[in-house]
Subunit: 349 residues, 4 copies
C-alpha cells in the first residue's frame, strides 16, 4: 500500500530490459550514442515537431531548472502557481540555475493558474523599469501538484496571455503522460499547439528508473541548453543508459499504457473512498493523485497496517480519533487492485 509518491515504485521490466540490451560493447558518450538518435526521432515524431531540440537528464528538477534558465535572464521573474514544484520542492534550484531569477507566485484555483490571476501578476510587474524584476517565463504544471489537470483550452488561454506579453512558456510535465491520457489529446495539442515553448517531459515517475526529456520546439535554444546542462553536471558520460530508458518508454506506447494504469488505480481508489461516509476530497482528482480527509482513527489503522502516504496537514498523534486529517495519495503504474481495495477497507474501518 505505497501511495507516498509515484517515485517510490519500480521501473517497468521493459525499461530494465532495454538497459540490459543497451549494455553491449562500446558506445559513444555524452549523448552521441546511437540510441539517442532514435529517441530524438521518436520524440519529434510523437510531438509532430520535426525541428525540436531534444535532450535527456536524470531528474525532474534538472529538467525544470535548466530549461527555465535557458528561457530566462537572471533579472527576470518566473510566473508559476503558488504550489509549483519549482517553488516548493526544488530547494532553490531554479534560482540557482537562472543565476538569481525570482519566482512570482500566481494565485490558483485547485493549483491551476487562472488567466485573470496571471494577467494581474504580469501587469503588476509593469511599471518599475530597471528597478523591479523583469517579466520572465510562465511555467505551468500539468498534472498540477494537487492532482488536477489543465484542459487544452485552459493551457491555450494561459499561453495566449503569456504571448501577448511576449513571454516564453514552460510546461512542467513530470506527470505529462498522466495528464495526456486524462485529456485524451495529442502531445502536440497539449504543448506547442497550445503555445508551450519548452517541456519537461517526465519518465521517472511513470515507470522509468531516472530519465526526463527536455524539449524545445524552437531549436535556437539548443546550444545554450547543452552548455547549461554540462555546466550543471547533468551531461551523462554513459548517456546510452538514459537513452535506452526513454526509448523503451516511448516504444509500443508503454508510456501511455503505464499512465493509464496509474490513473485507473487512482480512480479506483477515489471511487472506493467516495463511498465512505465522511471522506472529503480537497480537489477533484483528475489523474493519479488525490487529496482526501478522514478520521485520525482511519489513519491509525492504515499506519498500523504499513500503508505509506503523506499526511498533508496535522500528525497522526493526537487526542481526538474523530478529527479529520488530509492524506496525499499518489498511484503509480504498479499499484495492485488488491492493495487499493485493502487501503479503502482500512479507511472505512
Amino acid at each position: 500500500m505505497f501511495f507516498a509518491s509515484d517515485n517510490t515504485g519500480p521501473a517497468h521490466p521493459k525499461v530494465m530490459e532495454a538497459l540490459t540490451r543497451a549494455n553491449d560493447g562500446y558506445a559513444m558518450p555524452y549523448g552521441a550514442d546511437a540510441i539517442m538518435d532514435e529517441v530524438r526521432a521518436r520524440i519529434r515524431d510523437t510531438f509532430e515537431a520535426p525541428d525540436a531540440a531534444v535532450y535527456l537528464v536524470a531528474t525532474g528538477t534538472a529538467a525544470n531548472s535548466i530549461s527555465l534558465a535557458t528561457l530566462s535572464q537572471p533579472w527576470d521573474t518566473i510566473f508559476c502557481a503558488t504550489q509549483a514544484h519549482i517553488q516548493e520542492d526544488e530547494c532553490n534550484a531554479p534560482e540557482f540555475y537562472t543565476g538569481g531569477a525570482k519566482l512570482t507566485l500566481v494565485p490558483s484555483d485547485h493549483a491551476k493558474i487562472t488567466p485573470a490571476a496571471l494577467r494581474r501578476a504580469i501587469e503588476a510587474e509593469e511599471s518599475r523599469g530597471v528597478h523591479g524584476p523583469q517579466r520572465g517565463p510562465v511555467s505551468i504544471t500539468n498534472v498540477t501538484e494537487r492532482g488536477t489537470v489543465y484542459s487544452v483550452a485552459e493551457l491555450t488561454a494561459l499561453c495566449d496571455l503569456a504571448k501577448s506579453f511576449n513571454l516564453p512558456t514552460h510546461l512542467d510535465g513530470a506527470r505529462f503522460a498522466n495528464a495526456l491520457v486524462a485529456l485524451g489529446c495529442s502531445p502536440a495539442e497539449m504543448t506547442w499547439k497550445a503555445g508551450i515553448d519548452a517541456v519537461s517531459f517526465g519518465g521517472t515517475k511513470n515507470g522509468c528508473m531516472g530519465v526526463e526529456a527536455v524539449i524545445f520546439f524552437d531549436p535556437k535554444h539548443a546550444w545554450e541548453f547543452e552548455l547549461r546542462r554540462k555546466r550543471g553536471a547533468h551531461l551523462f558520460s554513459k548517456h546510452r543508459f538514459l537513452s535506452a530508458q526513454m526509448l523503451a518508454y516511448l516504444t509500443d506506447d508503454l508510456w501511455l499504457d503505464l499512465a493509464r494504469r496509474a490513473n485507473a488505480a487512482n480512480a479506483r481508489l477515489v471511487r472506493g473512498l467516495k463511498q465512505i461516509e465522511g471522506v472529503t476530497f480537497l480537489h477533484e482528482p483528475e489523474a493519479n493523485m488525490s487529496f482526501a480527509g478522514w478520521t485520525r482513527a482511519g489513519h491509525q489503522r492504515l499506519h498500523d497496517a504499513g500503508a505509506a502516504y503523506y499526511i498533508w496537514e496535522g500528525t497522526l498523534d493526537g487526542a481526538d480519533p474523530d478529527e479529520l486529517l488530509t492524506a496525499r495519495m499518489v498511484a503509480d503504474w504498479s499499484m495492485s487492485e488488491e492493495n487499493i481495495d485493502r487501503f479503502v477497507d482500512l479507511v472505512r474501518g
Copy 2:
C-alpha cells in the same frame, strides 16, 4: 578497439543484475532506501572511517563540483593542476557550484602537482587582504589526467602543505580504483591518512552505469552537501538505482578486480607499443591511460580499422605520413587482449 575513454565501455553484468534486484516493489526515495544504508556502511568500512558522510551522485562533475563548493567560499581560489578535469572538462561547473570561486592552476610534472609549485601558488595569494581571491581548497586528481599516479608519500606531502596553510583538500578520484591498485595501498592510506578531507570516488568509469560517491571524512559537511546536492538537482528520487550500482561495485572486491583488469589491459598495450621502434611516450603510464606518439601512417591504419581514441595534438589529415602524432588511449575493464594486440599490430604496420 575502443580506447576513447573508460566511459565508453559497458557496465559490468553484476552491476546490471544489482539494478534488476533493486527493482523490486517499493522503496523510499531520495536516499532513504535500505540499499543506501548498506552502501554507507560498506564505504565507511572500506575506508576505515566510521563517521564519514557518504553520498551518491550520478556524474563525476557533480561529485567534484558539489564537494568543492562545500569546502569553498565564493571568494576563494581552488588550487589544482593545469590539466585538472575541473579546469579543462567541466564547462565552468566548479565556478557555477561555488558561486564564482576561481581556480589557480598549479604547474605540474606529468600532471602531478609538486609541493614546491603548490607552495609558490599558495604563497602568491598571500598579501592582498580583501583584494585578491582568498586561499581555498587544494584539489588533487589521482589517477591524474595524464595517466600518472601520485604515491601515498606525494599525496601526503601535498596535504601536509595544504594543512600548513589551513586549507582543505579534495581528491578527484574519478579513477580512484585504478590508482589504488596501482599503488597497492589501502583506501584509507590513499585518502584521510594522507590528509584528504573529501573524495570524489568514481564508479562510472570502472564498470558502473553512472554513479559516484562523495565522501567527507568529517561529517560536519553533511547537511550542507545535502542541500547543495538537492539545489543542484542531483538528488535522485529513485535513489535505489544509484545505491544498487555502488553496492554491487563494492561487493566481493568487484571494483578492485575491474580496476586491475583495466590497468592490466593498459600495461599490455604499453608493453606492445614500447616494442615498436619510434613510438614514444609522453608520460610513463601508471594506471589505465597512456599517451604515446607514432606516425600519421600508423594512425591512418588504425582509423581505417575502426579503432577509437583521441589524437591529442594535430589531425589525421596531413601531407607527411611520417609525422608523429600523439594518441590518448584509455583502457577499461572490458578491453580484450585480442583488441589490444590488434591495435598494437596496426601501429606497427
Copy 3:
C-alpha cells in the same frame, strides 16, 4: 514641489563642506582612512554597541543585499513584507548577492508584517527537509514602504518570533532616522535591544550624497561582509569621501535634525490635504511619506504647475476628471513650507 522621492533633493551643506575638508592631501584607501575610525566610533557610541562591525557603502540596495547575503545561505528564503524594497525595487539584487536565495512575501497590514502572518510564513517552510527552501533571515523595513512605522514593541515581537525559530533579523533602515524621530526612542531600542542583528542605516535619502552604513551587532560577520563588499565592487578606493559624509551626518545630530524636518514637512502636507474634502489616505502617514487620493483634475493642476510625485495607480490621461487617483508623496529635509502649501492649494483647486 518635488515630492517624487527623498532621493531627489540636495545634500545638506554640512555634508558638502565635510567632503571639501576631507579632500586634503593623501589618505589611506579602502576604508583605512582616519575619518572612518571616527565614523566607527561614532556609530558604536550612537547605538550603544561597542563591539559592532561598521561598514559604509554608497547605495541602499548594496547595504541591503550584502548584509542579507552575509546572514543567509543560497538555499534559504528571506522573509519580508510583500511591499519590501528588496522585493520590488532592487532588480533581484538580493537573489544575486545571496547566490539564489528566495524571498517569501509575508502579508502585511499597511506594509507592516504582523507576527501572526510571519509565524504562518515561517511555519509553512517547516516540513520539506532538503526539498524546500530553508528558513533564512527576517527582513523588516522601518519606515515601511507605505510610510507607516513599526513601534519598538512591534519590532520586538517580530524579532522575538524570528529568534524563536533561530533566524537572524535585518532592518532595512533606508529611512532609519525618519522612523527614529517618529518613535522618539534610541537607536539601540529600535535595533539590537529589539532583537535586530544587522542594520542598513541610511544616509542618502536624508541629506547625504550617497552613503549608507551597515552595522552588525555581532562582529563575527565582519570579515565575510568585507569580502562580500569587495567582491560586489562596493569597496571604495577613495573611501574617505564616504566616511566624511557619514561623519558630518552624525555630527551635532544633523541626521536627527534633517529627519525631523522631513517628517514635519510631511505632517504639514498631510494636515493640509486632510482639510480638503474628498482627499482620502491609503495609510496613516507616520514619517515622511504619504499616499493619498484625489481627483484627476487635481492631479492635472499639479502636473501643469510642475509638481513631481508618483501617481501610484492609474494615469493622468483619462476621461473622467472626478476619478480618484492615488499619489505617493515623499518629503525630504529641504522641502519648503511654501511649496507644501502651494501643492495643497493646487489639490484643493
Copy 4:
C-alpha cells in the same frame, strides 16, 4: 611622499566645485539627471562615437565586472594578462558578476599580452566542445598593471586577433588618460578604431572622487548593462553627483591635464632614480607607475621619513641592508616636485 597609489590623492578642486554646483535643488534620480545628458554627449563627442551607450558607476571594479558580464556568458573564459586587475585585485568580482565565467591568464611581456601568446591561449580552448569553457572576451589593460603602455598598433593587433575568433574586446582603462597622453593619440584611436568594444574609462585615479564611465560602442548592450548595474546595486539614486564629477573631469581637458601632471611626476621620479647607481627598473615606466629596486637601507630611510609606497617583494625587516627590494610607486596629479626630489634624495642616501 605618497606613492602608494593614485587612489590616495585628493580630488581636483574643479571636481569638488562641480559637486557643489550640482547640489542645487531637486534633480531626477537614477541617471535621469540633466548633467548626465551633458556627460553622455561629451563622451560621445570625445570618442567620436555618436551612438555609444554611456554609463557611470563609482568603482573601477564595478566598471570592469559589469561590462565584462555584459560581454560574456557564464560558461565563457575571459582572456587577460596574468597581472590583470580583474584577476589579482577584484576578489572574484568578475566571476561573481558573470555568474561563474573563468579567467584564462595569458602570459605577457612586462604585463602586455603579446598576440602570439593570446593566439595560443585562444586556440588552446578550441577542441572540447561543450566540455571546456567557451571562448569569451579579451580584456586588455592600458596603462598596464606594471606601468607599461600598449601602443595603438599593439592594441589593434590584439583586437584583430580577437575579432578573427569573433570574440568581443574590453579595455580596462582605470588609467585611460595616463595611457592616452603617453601615446599622444585620440580616444577613438585608442579604442574603437583599434577594435575595442567596451571601455572602463577611469576618473577616480585621476582627480575624481569616485566615478568611472562604461562605454559600449555598440548600443545593443545598453539595456542589459542597465539591468546588470541595478542588480549589482551600482545604480545611484543621487546620480547627479556621479555626473557632475565626470562632467568636470571632461571639461576644459581637465582629464588630460591631470594625466599629464601625473605622468610628468613619474617621469621626474624615474629620471632621478635612474641617476642613482644600483637602482634598477623592472619595467620601463611609460605612464605614472614605476617598479624599481634599491637597497633595504634606502627603503629604511624612506620609511623613517614617512614615505608611502608598496614594497613589491620582500619586507623591510631583514639582516642585509644591501639587499635589493623592489618598490612600486604610483604618481598622481597632485604630486609635488619637492616630494619627488626628496624621495629620490632619500633613495640616494
